[in-house]
Amino acid sequence: MVNAVFDHIMALLIVGALFVGAVLVVPTMSLINLQTIDQQQLRNMALNVFNALLLDTGKPTNWGSMRDFQPNDPRVLRFGLASYEESTFYVLDPDKVQRLVKDNPLGGMDYFTVKQLLGLQGYGFSLRIIPPFNVTFSSVSVVGNTLSYSAKVSYLDGKPIPNAKVSATAVYSKGNDYFNISQSGPMETNAMGVCNGNMQLWTSTPDYYMVTLRVTVADVATLIVTSGQTFENEIANINIVGDTVVLTSTKEPPDYNQPPNENVWILDIVAFESQGILLYLYEGTKSGQNNKFNTGSGSFEVWSREFKGLHGSDPVLMIFNFWAIDPVTGQGRSQVLVTLAYPNLLGNSVFEYGGSWKNTNAAVRMQRSVSISDMTYTAELWLWKESP
């Protein structure tokens, strides 16, 4: 009798252990499968989102180039960054990408609106646009009328790139009136990825100078880098929307008017194309009305002008020669402003948009090679599920 009870207790214990083991092991095996399926679903979702971002033009097709664009403009019915002028895949419209720049003075699309348009409720995403390589200036100097520069070209992992073609464009001014642009090159980087160049200027010892390098690797990827402003821009911010150049106050609304409360004339506008060609768009005088604005009064958009075909020529850099009152001396003088046509986008730095995630294991990543303004970049998408 005792033995039978003992046998039954033992059997109960073993069956109980088997039951507990099964309860623990079987769901774990299923969980691994479920996680794999979950990740595959996330990958499918990421692929759909990436295709929507990079291959779809959105609706209306030219939504990025619309004027009077309100923040999160309700006229945008579908979201996509592809160019409506190109039939080739993975060509992005810089006007549309520019709308993703935070604090775009001409209005942009915030993360939550874009998520809604893409139907991504419950998911988070991050889009990065990574330049293909790095260019760093080592030195820029002028002795007499010779400008010397040194720059290093390297892959993203820091290894030097030999035989990269480098063309230089110098923008310089002197005194109250002198403004000029000189170009030289191309020359090639050495085995250390270094390029040391000289160019002759049309005047000696300019007051202001800036060098722009157009660097091409294997004829496939190009970067435009500038040697940096030497003054704080308080005249105007330069924006391009479609074929229109729009100047906005450097201060945010509503208190965007700022001293000096003086007139500023635009004397020259030059666009630098991605192929390295200079486009002389405008030449004005110090007495005209069409090329005048005031930093101390008027609307937030201080000046705008349409230049037919500008968008199609893929401008990457804008050069402005202003005639303005120097706030320190109170005297009129020319002031040169060189800025990327699409700030935050075409430069050396990584463009980032979207949310941030904590656990990279729970996110999927996709990458594609894309073209913006005829220049090659890597677009990278991270997608993850957000906890409810």
């Binding site: 059997a11 794999t36 293909p132 035989n163 090679s369």
Partner: protein, 154 residues
């Protein structure tokens, strides 16, 4: 009689245990077939897409035929390095229709050990029909090349 009943009880316990084992084993056996592919296999599919994207881009710009037919292997290597993500290792080989290797083996990036031992390598085969000798009137030479690009994450 008592002995007989005790044995009967033990047999039932053993039967129950055996049945439980069989159920658990059946479940474990079934789960082997139910296992979905590892996520790295999806990663290889993603790398294939990146590879096609890059080769198509180069071909579209007319650079891939130039690099291949002019044997500009150094330029081809640089072009792949700047267009592929920096953590992607690659090995590109070019063959003719007789499977004779034509490149010099230098179109390679990454740790050779990683490329040799990685379990998940994406392989992309891209065909080039020939090269243009004259733009207008258009004229081309038919000389097929098979470009094989292998990719893996570093």
């Amino acid at each position: 009689m008592t002995m007989k009943n005790r044995n009967k009880g033990q047999m039932r316990v053993i039967e129950t245990l055996l049945a439980s084992f069989i159920v658990v084993l059946a479940l474990a056996f079934a789960s082997i077939f139910a296992t979905t592919p590892a996520s790295q296999q999806y990663e290889a599919t993603e790398l294939e897409k990146i590879g096609y994207n890059v080769l198509h881009d180069l071909d579209d710009q007319g650079l891939l035929p130039r690099f291949v037919y002019n044997a500009e292997w150094s330029n081809l290597r640089s072009a792949l390095r700047v267009t592929l993500p920096s953590d992607v290792y690659f090995n590109l080989t070019v063959y003719n229709l007789n499977s004779v290797r034509l490149d010099d083996g230098s179109v390679l990036y990454g740790e050779p050990l990683t490329l040799a031992t990685s379990k998940h390598i994406a392989s992309i085969t891209y065909g080039l029909a020939g090269y243009a000798t004259q733009i207008y009137p258009p004229r081309a030479v038919y000389e097929p090349r098979i470009v094989v690009l292998q990719l893996t994450r570093g």
